[in-house]
Amino acid sequence: MKAIIRVAILLAAVAAVVAVQDLASSATARPSRPSTDAVVPRAGVVRRLALGHATAASDVYWLRFISYLGSDQAVRDGGSLLYPLGTLITDLDPRFAYAHEAAGLALNEFKRFEEAQAILDAGVRRNPGRWQTPFYAGFNAWDGLRQYERGAELFLRAARVPGGPAYLADLAARLFARSDAVGQGIALLDAMLADPGLTPSVREELQLRRQALEVEGFIRRVEERVDLFRIRNGRNPVSLAECGVSPDGPLVVPEGLELGLDARGVVTVEGFERPRLHEPGSSSPRKHRADHR
């Protein structure tokens, strides 16, 4: 009988503790704080508290990052904790390349493009042997910041890393074309081609992109002459020869390229696929400015 009474008292005590705990937690419950107020410690402090196990501490915060990323709080906050957590993780272990990339993409997803770029750029500096990090940095520069030249430079950097896919050079050429920085793209490609350490396949791909940008640059000069003609004469040119584009010069069409004018006076191109870009956020390729005339 005594044993039963003791067990009953014990159960009652446990139930009382649970009830009081619930009461206490509901009494102190507050609406969740905006995460900007939340304190993410500095990497130096965490490194010391982890007794030198910086990579393990980085992993623990990485798990916290993932749990926050998938939480409703992140949606409510607009992902405001992602950058401080991502910075902490990558400062604790600068060689945790995957964390740089995933944090950058998560920030991009939350439209925190500047923060995404900062963390991805740090990853590019810290892990030069990975092509994925400059690739994602280039993607964020293009997709988020709309900085096409910067994106192109990062894609080219990714293309140069051993193991980097060859299509990155093509993507970079399209971005240079989109950014009206064809000359700069050619100069950058020339600088890259001067590197004797390039693999033959990468060299070949870069040379192809250089040729493509040269042709694109020529077409743009033709389009500028057509624009100039229209302004000066108040009408569309009948032929390209009227704009100085002829076998006798001053602008000589490269071999294999066929240029013409349609009924609206827009330059048409055959024998060459112009480097165009799929515009971020759109479902159809962006039309080139010449097509709008």
Binding site: L51, G52, T55, V60, W62, L63, I66, F96, Y98, A102
Partner: protein
Amino acid sequence: MIHFVSISASLARVTVKEAVRSKVFVGLLAFAAALIVLSAILSNLAIGWPLRIVTDLSLAAIGLVSGILAIILAIGSTSRDMDRKTISFSLAKPVSRSTYVAGKFGGVLAAVLLNLVAMTICAAIVCFTHMHAEGPQFTVAAFLQASFLIALRATVITAVAVTFAVLVSPAVALMASAGIFVAAHLIADVRVLLEKADLGLLASILYRTLPDFSLLDGLAALVHGDPVITSATVPAILYALLYSAVALLLATIFFEKRDLG
């Protein structure tokens, strides 16, 4: 010399038997195993590089548990001898105090290493089930090298704990050993901070007095797929062995003068 070795070995055997039977030994082994399994579960929640997560967390747990075990076993075993007065019996026989210190150290270290081997096997099984997943990879040899460096850290902290255990009361020994275990992980950073604050002399004294475990860290290299033990690590291994030897020598010298009455 043969006498010294055989009596130390006998003392060590007794210490190991005592240690293995202790609840702390089994409890910490179970705790480490639980942490390793937990790290495997957590690695599945991470969206990439699972091998890194499981290796990092399980080896960090092994390092922590080994250090705690070394401190508790060294102090527990010695204080039991003192409390039960068995130390007087031991030392009444032709057993010198240096033999006693060597035997205690050998026994505690053997028990810690036994625990470490068990934990390492457990961690290795978990880690190698995550091999060939995305992220940096490492070899079995690299994994064993990282575990060897953890064993060296355990050797140093065992020597420190045995030294305090034979010289001061158990409570003081526990606090001092635990403090040194923590400080050993931080001393490299502390040294830089003190030097920045123009306290170069203090930095130098502390750095030369406390063991520097940052020299014996193989975990970061392992999880990034780099070689763990290189030619640069060899002096660190020698440093750990010498530091332990000096600690034990100090223990012997001061223990000879201690009145156990």
